[in-house]
Each structure stands twice: as C-alpha cells, then as structure tokens.
C-alpha cells in the first residue's frame, strides 16, 4: 500500500514547538526538565520521554547575515531500519504504510538498537527498562487520524499524507525556494539510506540543520545484521567486545533463560 509520512518544510516552521508538546500529550509522556544551557533548545537530544525535539541552530553568513534554523528531529522511519535488523527480540516492525513500529511488550531494554541507528533515535526509558521512540502515531494513523505533531502544526510546516504526493510537493517547494532567496534549498529523506519515511524541505544544506549529509549504518551493525543476529546473541562478545555490548548480551541471554522480569523498576 501507499507509504504515508510527514513532510516537514523548515521554511514554514516558527519553532513554536507545538509539535513537541502535542507529541507528549498524545503519547502520554512526562516532562524531562533539564537546566538551560545557553540555547532555546533545552534538550540536546530526544530521550526516553521525548520522542521529538525542535533544534535551534544559529549562525552567520558573510552575505546573508544572521540565520536561525529550526528543525524538527525524530525517528526517520527508515525504509530498511537498522534498529529492526539488530533487535534480537523482533520488537521492531514496519507497518505496510511505512512506520517503523517498536513494540514495548517485546522489548527487553537491551539497547542495542541505540547503537545501530544512524540518527541515534531509540532511547532508553529506565523506569520501565524499555526502549522508546517516535511511533509516527501508529495508533492514530490506523484510525484515520494524522499524527499528533502534524495535526497541531499551526503554520503547515508539517503535513501528513502519501509519500509520493508529498515528495512531489517537496520537489516543487524546493524549486520555488531555490528561485526565491534560498539557492541551496534541498530535499532530505528522498534518497538518504534508500529513502526515509520522513521528508524534509530544507532552505540550506543538511549540515546547516545538523543532519548527516550521508547517513550510514555503522559498519559493525552491518556485520551484525548479516552474520551475527542469525546465530542469536552468543557470538557478540567475540565479534565486538566492549562492556556495553556484553551488557547487551547478558540481557539477551538472561531473557532467554526466562530470568528477566518485564517492566521491572530499578
């Protein structure tokens, strides 16, 4: 079936952060209060209770002067997600319309996906010992509703719909912007990692928005996908080493032995 996604046009975003709060409202997420660090963007990254953030990036161009770029950042719902490939429990799945869905029931909190993701999106929620991330509001979409972020966006910077149609809109918009004061305007998500299920119209090159120019799945992960995962967890310490990973395997093996208590608070 047709892929459904969000198109996010930075040239219309005022960084009001309605999306960030609407996400919390819909996904029933507590606040994570951290001190101010000299930037409007208080959270430097997403976290276990914050699926999406708006990044504030300021700079100065010798010709155009000061700029202040805003960009909404969240799971990119990759077409071939590394998180899904590495998950030993099969907690990740792709919906037929393109969302990368993470099932908390199956998650054992091993956090291996957090190392695999080229965008560093999956985050660990300690109080439940689970991974969390943007769901593209699967529950809403499957009831015929738009995701909470797109629904609340006041300026129309976020739009939800069929990926093919949105891609066309995005192409036209980027073309328009290139002719109207933003010569470096471009699209992001069309080809990156074989096409993301998130589309961006950018007024400048991706690096000006803190996006990787050429996102890549870490080499070790590719190895894991192809060779290690099929043989379950026992090869990992040998293959990769390192304490973080042995922590991961310990968890996997513990769970295999049925010792793991789901949803336990630590």
């Amino acid at each position: 079936m047709a892929k459904m996604t969000n198109l996010y046009d930075v040239s219309k975003c005022t960084a009001c952060r309605g999306c960030q709060v609407a996400c919390k409202d819909w996904n029933q997420l507590p606040a994570v209060i951290e001190p101010f660090k000299g930037n409007y963007q208080t959270h430097e990254d997403t976290n276990g209770d914050t699926f999406t953030i708006v990044k504030f990036i300021e700079g100065e161009d010798p010709v155009d002067g000061v700029y202040w770029n805003f960009i909404k950042y969240q799971c990119m719902h990759c077409s071939d997600p590394a998180c899904m490939s590495v998950c030993p429990q099969g907690a990740y799945s792709k919906t037929s319309w393109g969302a990368t869905y993470h099932d908390p029931e199956k998650c054992i909190g091993c956090q291996y996906c957090t190392y695999a993701c080229p965008f560093e999106i999956p985050k660990y929620r300690a109080r439940e010992d689970k991974i969390t991330k943007c769901t593209l509001c699967v529950d809403r979409v499957e009831e015929g509703l738009t995701p909470a972020c797109a629904r609340t966006c006041p300026t129309g910077a976020l739009k939800f719909g069929e990926r093919d149609e949105l891609l066309q809109i995005a192409e036209e918009r980027a073309k328009f912007l290139r002719a109207n004061g933003f010569p470096r305007a471009t699209i992001y998500g069309k080809v990156e990692l074989g096409g993301l299920n998130k589309l961006y119209v950018l007024t400048d090159t991706p690096d000006k928005f803190d996006l990787p120019l050429d996102p890549k799945v870490p080499g070790q992960i590719t190895f894991w996908q192809n060779w290690v995962q099929p043989y379950f967890g026992w090869l990992i310490p040998i293959a990769l080493g390192g304490s973080a990973i042995s922590f991961v395997t310990t968890r996997i093996l513990a769970n295999k032995n049925g010792d793991h208590t789901e949803g336990g608070h630590e």
Binding site: S11, K12, C13, T14, A15, C16, R17, G18, Q20, V21, K24, D25, P30, A31, V32, I33, E34, P35, F36, K37, G38, N39, Y40, T42, H43, T50, E58, G59, E60, G65, V66, Y67, W68, N69, F70, P154, T155, G156, G181
Partner: protein, 790 residues
C-alpha cells in the same frame, strides 16, 4: 513591529504564512534583536528600543515627499483636509501651549478652524499650508533617512528596504497590516507609538480594509473583554469615562460634558443610563449615578500610581483576580514592599503566585547578600492573606473575547480540581455575603450596596445565562427584567432599558429558552461569508461566535470602498453600495441606507466627532507623534532638545539611572513557551522543560567585553534592583551604531519567579516606575542597566 508574533502569537503565523504562499505577501520584522519572527521574515531590520517614532516618522516623510500615500482615501476618510488654527506651533520638540511647571499642555492652540455652522473648515486640495497634510509634511520633513538611522541604529540599506516595501501598500489594490504588541506600547511614548502606526496606515489607506489595520496582538485570552468591561480606573464598561468629582458632579452634568454633538457617541446617555439600570434596577439613573464612585479630578489611579499609593499606605485592602504584580509589575521590589503595607490581601488563582506568597522567605532571596532593597521578612509583615483556589478555564463555562473582538464560548470539559471554584462563584458568593452584612442598613452611604441589583439564581453558582442576558440588555418592566433588546440601537436614556455593557448588546438578542441558540457567542458554524460571486470571502465567518459591535468583523469598513461606494479592490471587498443600500461580506460600519454621494455619505469613522480618521489628534504630548528618548537612555535626542516626552509624569526622580553606572540598554520580553508572569506556564511540566530558567540575551561583542560565556550566571543591575540570570550569548543581538558610537542592548525574559517547575528571578525588579504620558503603561521596554559575571 513592536511584536514578536511567531513567538508570542504563534497562530498568527498560520495566516502570515498563508498570505505569503497564496498572495506573495512580504513579512517585515523590525525588532532590536533577531527573533523567531525575524527568522521567518522576508526583511529584518533592527532598531534600538524606544525609537519607533523616529523609524515610522522617516517612513511617513518618505511617503509624503514622494506622494506615495493613497490620495483619495486620505482626502475623504482622514482629517488631512482640516485647517488648523494659526495658534498651533512647534519648536524644538515642544508644541504650543506647554507648561513646564506642570509638565502639561493646554491643547486649545492646536484646535481646528470651524465654520459658522459648527462644521470643520477643510481644503479638499490639501494644499493650504495650515491643512493637516501640509503640517504633517513640514513636521516629518525633519525625519530624513540619515538622521533616522543615526537615531534608531538601523542599517540604512535595511531601513530603505522596509520603507520601500511598506510604502508600496499605498496602492489601492494593495494592503499592509501592522501587528503590534507591548514592544510598541510599553514606552513613555507608547500611545504616540501606536498613533504613528495609525497615521501611517491612514496615509496608505490601510484602515478598515481586509488585510489592513493596526492589529493589537493581545497577550491574555480575555484582556480584550476585561478592557471592554473596564476593570480599569479611567473607564466604565463600554468605554464611558469614569466620573470625576468636580467635572461630573451629577448625572446631568456628566451627560452634558461627555456627550459630543456629532458622531455615534451622541448616544452616550443611553448607554450610561442602561448601565446604571443594570447595576441598580430599582432606582432612577439620575439617582443611581450618585452610587458610582467619583475620582478625584485629574488624579492618576493607574497601576504604577496604585502601587505608589499602596506603598504610602493609602490602600488598605486589595483583591487580586489572577494577577501576579511582584513578577509582572514594574519596579517589582517596590511593588513587593507596597504589598506589605496592606492590612489584607485576597488572592484568587489556580496556582500559588509569587504575589500571594510575597511574605514568604522565598520572596526574600536576592542575588547579593546585602538586602539593600529593604525587603521585610515574614515576621515583620502584618498583612493578612486570603488565598482562594480558582478552577481552570475548561473546568467552568463562559465566554472570552479575543484580539479580533470575537466573543467565543468555552464549555465545561472537566470537574474543578479539589475544592477550587470558578471566579464567577467566588464573586457571587462574596457579593451575597457583603450584601448580607449591609442588609438592614438605612444609611445613605450604604445604598450603592443595599440597592445593588444582584439576582443571578438561587444556588451558589450563578446562572450564566441570566448574566449573559443582562450583558445584552433588556427592557425594564416594573423594575424587573423584561424582553431582551435586539442590540444597542434599542437602548434608551430614560431608564426603560438596562444593559451591562452596551458594546456587547446584540450577543443575546432574544430569549427562546435555548441558550445554544440565543447566546450567539456559542455559535459554531464555520462558514465564510460570500453574498456575491464577484467578491470572494474575506474571512468574516459571521456565524462563528459573535463579535462586537453588532457582529461586525472589520470596523471602519466604509473605508474599504471608494468615496462612491465601490470596493478599492474586488479581492478584498468587505461591503459595497448596491445603489440602494450597503451590503457585503461583513456588517456595514455605517448607515445601511446612507447614500455615499449624499450628506455624510463619506464619514467613515462614526465614533469620532470629526467622523474621519484623525491623523492630527489630541494626545497629552501633542497632536502629532514626535520622537523623544526613553526616560533612561544612553544618548541625547538628535531630533530636538527635549530628551524625555515633556508630558510624562515622574514618580521617582531619584531612581533615574545614568550611563556612567548603567551604560547598557535593557529590555524585557517573552518566549513562546511561557506566558506573562509565568505562573500558568512555569507550573506546566511540558512548558517548563522547554524553557526551564530565566535567561538574558546579549551580543557576542558585549559578552566578550564583560568576559561572559554562553550559559554563565550573570547579574544585571539597575537603580531599582539586581537579578541573577543565565547568559544566552547570541549572534542574534548586535550592538547598535548610534550617531557614530556603539551602544549595547540586552533582553531579559520576564516570566520568572520563585514558584513552579521553572524558577528564576523576576526581571521586573529592574524596570522603572515611569510610564506613558496618556496611559501610564510602564516603560518596560527601554531602561539602563549593567551586566557582569556572577
């Protein structure tokens, strides 16, 4: 300009974005620093805080010199043609009639020349040197571009980009709108700042037209309503002046003094009479007029004056309905001390405000050890404090009026939390209790209470529809409510009608027994109006809620047409003359059958005695806006030798900071994620996490100069107090080049106090007790300070 719309009124950007996408609109952001609005604007021009009149004056000069104004509009719909008496004069920043002792003008010399029949003498060619257009041309000729930029610090190329883009809206098929907020008003020249916008818009023919206007972006959900209801010292509901003792000793004198002979306000006695009947239904208005409090003539009772008088001990008891002055009021240290001089304070809020806990030890903390501001600890404060928990906006029902005067209803969606109550119930029970205490009194001085009409149903909770019916007004039959009036045109001055607020008359025009139908604020039909296929809809949505006056969405809409009654622009047609009557996509702001070519057919501003838009008008500091520096300014006025607005009242001369100790311009502002004094957002975890602390924005140049790094704790000092805040060092603030020298400006968020999830120190401990010459709105936006690393 004067607002940061993307930040503080984010939804406005929905429509700005749409205008840009659909109609190629240009967005201009004029602000001391590069904001979220600037980030989405087509043109950004910085200006130094407090120089708006210079900025706009230069635009007017360019428009007048190059004849870019909308000439026919100006000729017919403004007082540009009016002849001013030759007693009018202007020299070196002072208009004629100034009394330096009293710091006041006698406006008599600014008057217009009248014909013998009482009409205004005009020159329709606008060439008479004494006509308003020529006087303006001369006045603003002094505002040449180079001088303006030396004052404002705006780069000349950016300034010219703004001027040229905006002047282009003088074409009849173009419109421009000015969105302003407190960046415009919170100055010693606040009123004249707004007037300069109004004059500019009149010159360009942008008033009364869809997509035009001078738009006040109001900061609170019902600051429109609370102004309409006159919770202000100088007005009664519906913008009638509050009586002053000598000026208005009795009912007849009030009506004689306050009622103009021309314009719609000639109906004023009907509105006053009906309001008095609403308050005291059983008494004759001539008698119940005596129950209204009379001010001491000329005395200032505004916010600053009120706290000065509280400080002096004049005020003993105060009730606060959801307000937080020791965070939101100017010179907050002094306002905090003033509260300690009260005998009792009643504070009503959802949250524990800093004001309701002004006596607590938390309120004592200051960034430096020495308590040089003499704040008293709890055991030295005798004030009794009564805190009443109010419920939230969706835990009760009622209507609010937005910036566009739309009266929209809010239904109850959840129960009040704990024992909290709606303010409606609180004021109702308080009134009943007070009436009970006075019951049986036969003293004449108690009559305002004993005779007060207070019939809102039997239970603890008043019947909201009874109140709504009273707001709309009804015919009084045998001293009791009779049938509803259709609107304010049915109100009478003989005591036969009662109406709580005449401008809202029409919101509940009939009583069929079904409030969903009768109370028009409840309407939810979201269909845009279109009565003629040649004229596209303009966004009136006249069946969505209700709008005052008489559901008219754009006021002064007569100006949207040529003198003959044809829309200037078919794509932006509000109303038009059909040959027999006015019709259109909005309710006409004009006599429905007044022929545009007949008598009065072009008098588009019916609320003015002149019946035209007043570019030249009477304000306390003169008939035309003139640039003056803020009370505290690092530079001399380059336009005239009056540094400060000559009509401003000085409350604390000893608190005026000087550049030797305080060389930096300070200003305050808000962010999208917080609201006003912050008590309703610092208590919301989802908002606290987005803006967790108070910060001060400053340029990289200033930070380097003061050895401050991004994120450092800094201390900001003024003559009024110090606060600690976190530094936000940014490229978005730049030093201003003012007349050859660099001047620094910083900006502090004023949302913070000691309560809630996002604590910080109140920026208003820094701001002065000095205000505008007409309204006394405090000069929060430009004052002097210094900043150092903590």
């Amino acid at each position: 300009m004067g607002s940061n719309a993307a930040e503080n009124h984010p939804i406005s950007f929905k429509w700005l974005t749409e205008a840009r996408e659909k109609r190629g609109a240009k967005i201009i952001s004029v602000d001391p620093r590069f904001t979220r609005t600037s980030a989405r604007a087509d043109i950004y021009a910085p200006l130094r805080s407090g120089t708006d009149i210079a900025f706009i004056g230069g635009m007017m000069n360019y428009i007048l010199q190059n004849k870019l104004y909308h000439e026919e509009y100006v000729r017919w719909f403004t007082n540009a043609t009016f002849i001013v008496k030759d007693t009018f004069g202007f020299e070196d920043g002072l208009f004629s009639g100034y009394d330096p002792e009293k710091r006041k003008y006698d406006a008599a010399s600014w008057a217009f020349v009248m014909n013998e029949d009482g009409t205004y003498q005009k020159d329709m060619t606008m060439e008479n040197p004494q006509c308003v257009l020529q006087i303006m041309k001369k006045h603003y000729a002094r505002y040449d571009v180079d001088l303006v930029c030396r004052i404002t610090g705006t780069p000349k190329n950016k300034y010219m980009e703004v001027v040229e883009a905006y002047a282009a809206t003088g074409a009849p098929d173009k419109v421009g709108t000015i969105m302003y907020a407190m960046g415009t008003t919170q100055h010693t020249v606040g009123t004249e700042n707004v007037r300069s916008f109004a004059i500019l818009q009149l010159l360009l023919g942008n008033i009364g037209r869809a997509g035009g206007g001078v738009n006040a972006l109001r900061g609170e959900s019902n600051v429109q309503g609370s102004t309409d209801w006159a919770l202000l010292y100088h007005i009664l509901p519906g913008y009638l002046a509050t009586p002053e003792a000598k000026k208005h000793p009795d009912y007849a004198t009030y009506n004689a003094v306050e009622t103009p002979k021309t314009g719609y306000w000639k109906n004023k006695p009907k509105f006053l009479s009906s309001m008095l009947k609403c308050y005291w239904m059983e008494d004759d208005p001539a008698k119940s007029y005596n129950y209204l409090p009379k001010r001491i003539d000329g005395k200032n009772y505004s916010h600053i004056a009120m706290f000065e008088d509280m400080y002096k001990g004049i005020i003993k008891g105060m009730i606060i309905w959801g307000s937080n002055p020791i965070v939101g009021g100017p010179n907050a240290n002094k306002e905090q001390k003033a509260l300690a001089n009260l005998e009792w304070l009643v504070a009503i809020d959802l949250w524990q405000t800093e004001t309701s806990e002004f006596w607590s030890y938390k309120a004592l903390e200051r960034p430096t050890d020495k308590n040089e501001y003499d704040i008293k600890p709890a055991d030295e404060i005798d004030t009794e404090v009564f805190f009443l928990p109010a419920c939230g906006s969706y835990e009760k029902e009622g209507s609010v009026s937005n910036s566009g005067r739309w009266m929209q209803f809010r239904w109850q969606a959840a129960d009040p939390v704990g024992e909290s109550k709606a303010d409606l119930e609180i004021v109702h029970k308080l009134a009943l209790k007070i009436k009970e205490l006075y019951a049986g009194s036969s003293r004449v001085e108690d009559e305002p209470i004993t005779r007060l009409t207070w019939e809102y149903g039997h239970g603890d909770h008043p019947d909201i529809n009874v109140i709504a019916r009273e707001i709309n007004g009804f015919t009084v039959v045998d001293g009791k409510p009779g049938p509803q009036v259709a609107n304010f045109t049915k109100l009478m001055d003989d005591g036969t009608t009662a109406c709580g607020n005449w401008i809202y008359s029409g919101c509940y025009p009939a009583d069929t027994g079904n409030p969903d139908v009768d109370y028009l604020a409840r309407r939810r039909i979201n269909k845009d109006d279109q009565v003629d296929p040649n004229y596209p809809p303009i966004g009136s949505y006249s069946q969505w809620s209700w709008c005052w006056p008489v559901n008219r969405r754009i006021i002064y809409n007569r100006c949207s047409c040529t003198p003959e009654g044809v829309p200037w622009d078919a794509n932006r047609a509000s109303i038009w003359w059909s040959g027999e009557e006015w019709t259109g996509n909005d309710v006409q702001d004009f006599g429905k059958n007044t022929d545009p070519n007949g008598p009065g057919g072009r008098n588009a501003f019916i609320m003015r005695p002149e019946e035209v838009g007043c570019m030249y008008s009477k304000c306390n500091e003169g008939p035309l806006p003139e640039h003056y520096e803020p009370w505290e300014s690092p530079v001399k006025n380059l336009l005239n030798s009056q540094d400060l607005n000559p009509a401003v009242q000085i409350f604390e001369p000893d608190k005026q900071g000087t550049t030797d100790k305080y060389p930096i311009i300070g200003t305050t502002y808000r962010v999208s994620e917080h609201w006003q004094s912050g008590i309703m957002t610092r208590t919301q975890p989802w908002l606290a996490e987005l803006m967790p602390n108070c910060f001060v924005e400053m340029s990289e140049e200033l930070a380097r100069d003061r050895d401050i790094k991004n994120g450092d704790d800094v201390i900001i000092t003024t003559t009024r107090g110090d606060i600690k805040a976190l530094a936000c060092v940014t490229k978005r603030f730049k030093p201003f080049l003012i007349d050859g020298n660099y001047v620094h400006q910083i900006g502090v968020l004023w949302h913070f106090g000691f309560n809630g999830y996002a604590p910080g120190e109140p920026a208003n401990r820094l701001t002065p007790h000095v205000g505008d010459a007409n309204t006394t709105i405090p000069e929060y936006k430009a004052w002097l300070c210094d900043v150092r690393r903590a």
